[in-house]
Amino acid sequence: MTIDLNLAEEQRQIVGSLREMLADRFPVARLRDTARHTQQDRFALAAVAEFGAIGLARPDEEGGLGLSIVEEVLVHVELGRALVSPGALAAGVAVRIASAAGLPDLADTLSEGSRRACLANAVGALDMDAPEGAALLLFDWQDCDAAVVWTEAGALLLDPRKLEISPCSATDRTVSAGRAVLVGDAVLAGVSAKDVPVARLAQLLVSAQLLGICEATRDMAVDYAKVRTQFGQPIGAFQAVKHHCANMAINAEVLSAQLLFAAIAERDGWEDAPFQSGAACQLAARHAIANASATIQVHGGIGFSDECDAHLFLLRANLLEMIGGPPRRTEAAFLRTPFPQFASSGPDLGAARAFG
């Protein structure tokens, strides 16, 4: 048995240089100006594509870097840390759908960043066999070339120009939103979950971004607790604050362990890959929201002010939680996912009287 859950040198380098580039050029503070709606996070998306972060898991012969979902997950952790537009998630997913649906040109251009994708979330039911009429909510959709929407059954690539999109606002005010009704004309391609497990891959990338939020907010709180002084001591010396920080560290560590385990399972085609990514998805939003909330608390008054970025993480985490379906629905799906390894095992500690 070879177990090595440490990052390899190449992985460390990708993560390190992407983190540095984003922190340097796109600090989260860029999002404080709410007027940015209209311009979106276009420059950040372009820089991310230029870095090679989109479609890096495509095979060499398709112009990818021949890396895997594991590296893609690591990349999206960094995108989550920097609160890059959900367009990056959309592009990562859209490239897969385009490749599978025989649209290599679209896949190539999305990877390079010369074309852009946006996320569309189904509001209510979306039947993949008869998608027309489904209500959609699109994020950062202006001037995009493709919109991507998925359910457990499959995924669609849409041409947003064929949709009648009416701008509205999103709970996360750092992204723009628009409502639309799906029309048949707009469908560029569709794939079934049997051919490409889009929902699962997307789940991994969304969870990765949530992990990025989880880690970034932990770091913010810990850094602040070391320098903010009250009662003559850094507040991090007080157990009440220290224990908040410890909880945040556990939240991040637990999620990170499960997420990378799930990514390895996906890469290596383990039988329990759907279970592992489902588990990561169950934890991701909860841990990210808990950490973002605790960060506001640790920062005190400044945390409640718009000068502190903690709330930006909080709102993004809440938005990402809703991508791909509301939590109750993903919960039910997760409970139906088999966990073959322990399926028939487990001590029956129950009461002796079996009822039901």
Partner: protein
């Protein structure tokens, strides 16, 4: 990042599985007293006779000399086969005392004790905490006076699990007169049958009597029983922590996943009891605990082992999962004379956030050693 099984791994697992299926005892483990001792020793003897004892112990000391990975594989297969919980009267000897002797003991100590531990002849208990020294272990006062080639020990220990059925105790005492804190302590092997020892079991919240107070009244312990050097006991005690990697605690962590799957099957039979959210959480958290356990165990082996996160997450999760089991099965207790089943496990799980470093101490350790937050004077 890799997690791969080779053909030999599959063969090892298959052999373990085949043996376990045939040999796992069908009756439940008794909670306390002599029956608990007999049950645990007999299970260990059976494993030893078949060559499954001390999987990751060095060959020189009677172990199989295999890797942590093999040890983990064994634990997983044991869980899948429904083997008795490893948190039994042999836990301290196999996971704690034995490894400490291997690291710090003299050849005589090793030659005498290690074979007995592996073959299931003896039960060990731990004697660290005192009535006035719980989280603040270094304030302990039980004293051993050097007299010729013996220590004369007086004092009191508490929360010593299975002290009433133990043959030996890992006893941490002050041996240097006037010493303070971590200095001047010694880690000694205490023969529990020595004159002057009184053991008083204490009932716990689950209705079991497996921990105890131990009183020492002029107990004579040979100096040759000191492990790791006189007045060097703190270091010996800390050395043991390095052996927490891949110990039976790992099996408990992995076992939670199997317990949640069992609850899920029960909930399906029962129909939706409105616990979907709790079940989904428990399932995801137990899965993550397993991933975190692997990550912690196989972190760069040159780094010091720090199990505080995995330990704390496990402890609190165990309480949530056992409570969920109790909720799903409803308020009827199966057994008329004592608590059993999920409620027993639920209450037992409360020891996890107290014993071996409370949840609060674990959070301090995470805050200070992992996150680099300052130690507070005024807490």
């Amino acid at each position: 990042m890799k997690f791969e099984l080779s053909d030999e791994d599959h063969a090892f697992r298959a052999a373990a599985r085949a043996w376990l299926v045939e040999n796992v005892p069908s009756e439940p483990a008794p909670h306390d007293g002599q029956p608990a001792r007999e049950f645990a020793l007999s299970w260990l003897r059976r494993r030893h006779a078949a060559g499954w004892s001390g999987i990751a112990w060095p060959k020189a000391y009677g172990g199989l000399g295999l890797s942590y990975e093999r040890q983990i594989a064994w634990h997983e297969e044991s869980v899948i086969a429904g083997a008795p919980s490893p948190l039994d009267p042999t836990f301290v000897s196999v996971n704690h005392a034995g490894p400490t002797l291997i690291a710090c003991g003299t050849e005589e100590q090793k030659a005498f004790h290690l074979p007995k531990i592996l073959s299931g002849e003896v039960v060990w208990c731990q004697g660290f905490s005192e009535p006035d020294s719980g989280s603040d272990l270094a304030s302990l006062r039980t004293f051993g006076r050097v007299e010729g080639d013996h220590l004369i020990v007086n004092g009191q220990k508490i929360w010593s699990t299975y002290a009433d059925i133990a043959d030996y105790q890992e006893l941490l005492i002050r041996t240097e007169p006037g010493s303070e804190r971590q200095a001047g302590l010694s880690w000694v092997i205490c023969d529990m049958s020595a004159p002057g020892i009184t053991v008083q079991p204490i009932g716990n919240i689950a209705g079991a009597h497996h921990f105890a107070q131990v009183f020492y009244d002029d107990v004579r312990i040979p100096l040759s029983n000191v492990v790791g050097g006189l007045n060097n006991g703190w270091k010996t005690a800390m050395t043991t922590l390095g052996f927490e990697r891949a110990t039976a605690a790992t099996a408990l962590q992995i076992e939670l996943s199997a317990k949640v799957e069992a609850l899920l099957r029960f909930a399906e039979v029962q129909g939706d009891g409105g616990f979907a959210h709790e079940l989904a959480s428990a399932r995801a958290e137990a899965a993550a605990l397993r991933a975190l356990t692997y990550r912690t165990l196989f972190k760069d082996p040159t780094t010091p082992f720090d199990g505080s996160m995995v330990r704390l997450f496990f402890a609190e999760l165990a309480q949530r999962i056992h409570r969920l089991g109790m909720q799903l099965y409803g308020p009827e207790n199966a057994d008329c004379d004592r608590l059993s089943g999920w409620v027993y496990a639920y209450l037992e799980a409360f020891s996890e956030t107290i014993a071996g470093g409370t949840a609060e101490i674990q959070r301090n350790i995470i805050g200070e050693r992992i996150l680099g937050l300052p130690r507070g004077g005024n807490r």
